[in-house]
């Protein structure tokens, strides 16, 4: 794609040159578009206990309309998304988190 080494890494033409040099295999292979790999917040921070009382933890996962943020956007892993869901449901019952934005 381009001959400039500065782009290096897996960013640009990594795929084309994969045969002759290792750039393409450098860690995670990045697509031409810059897309950050999503990381499950709970795995990364080692939060085992997703508690319904911890509103500070839950709030980022219920943006404006107070809907639960889907996994495909937040990057949360399946296990933690399930636990998160239960926690949010409970927090809503106790009026710690809104069901909907008014």
């Amino acid at each position: 794609m381009n001959g400039r080494k500065t782009f290096g890494g897996g960013a640009g033409g990594g795929r084309g040159r994969a045969g002759q040099n290792q750039a393409g295999k450098d860690g995670q292979q990045r697509r031409p578009m810059f897309r950050r790999r999503k990381i499950c917040k709970f795995c990364a921070d080692k939060i085992d206990d997703i508690n319904y009382k911890d509103t500070r933890l839950l709030m980022p996962f219920v943006p404006e309309r107070a809907k639960i943020l889907p996994r495909r956007i937040s990057g949360t892993c399946a296990l933690h998304q399930r636990k998160l869901r239960v926690a949010i449901l409970r927090a809503r019952q106790l009026a710690l988190i809104p069901y909907t934005a008014e």
């Binding site: 290792q22 295999k25 450098d26 860690g27 995670q28 990364a44 921070d45 080692k46 085992d48 206990d49 319904y52 009382k53 409970r90 809503r92 019952q93 106790l94 009026a95 710690l96 988190i97 809104p98 069901y99 909907t100 008014e102």
Partner: protein, 152 residues
């Protein structure tokens, strides 16, 4: 069968402190009568509700950690439902969850110890190792394997 439950109830903001205390003794009585124990009581004080319940916008939250049977919790739930002062309650069983959390935590620390030993480090983090949180520990490992293999 003794289980651990967490009970949270919201008392109407119109209630006086005495009434809140009364409610607590009511629960205490039921718990004692059906041979359970109250492990902890926490009063979160008056909080804003995220949405209106009835016509209330605020409420006094009280949390109780109760050891007891399911029957006991059923009775408490019934009594709270009858009470006009309580506008919302939630009882959750917590012993199993605590156990699972405990297990994953010990498993993780054990695994990180094993990794450290494999790398020739003492099993526990030394204070001189700087401020890297525990979280980088195993993620570093994962990424390093790729990087080192290719570059060196």
């Amino acid at each position: 069968m003794n289980r651990k439950y967490e009970l949270v109830y919201i008392v109407s903001p119109d209630a006086t402190d005495d009434q809140v205390a009364e409610l607590h003794t009511l629960i205490e009585e039921i718990v004692q009568r059906m041979d359970g124990q109250i492990e902890k009581t926490e009063n979160w004080g008056r909080r804003r509700l995220a949405y209106e319940i009835g016509r209330h916008k605020e409420g006094t939250y009280v949390l109780e950690l109760i050891n007891g049977s399911g029957e006991l919790l059923k009775e408490i739930d019934r009594r709270l439902k009858v009470s006009d002062l309580v506008i919302r309650q939630l009882a959750v069983r917590v012993d199993e969850v605590h156990e699972i959390v405990e297990r994953t935590r010990s498993k993780r620390s054990e695994a990180s110890r094993r990794r450290r030993v494999a790398r020739g480090l003492p099993p526990d983090r030394q204070p001189s190792e700087g401020q890297r949180g525990d979280s980088d520990d195993d993620r570093d490992d994962r990424d390093d394997r790729f990087d080192m293999g290719d570059r060196r």
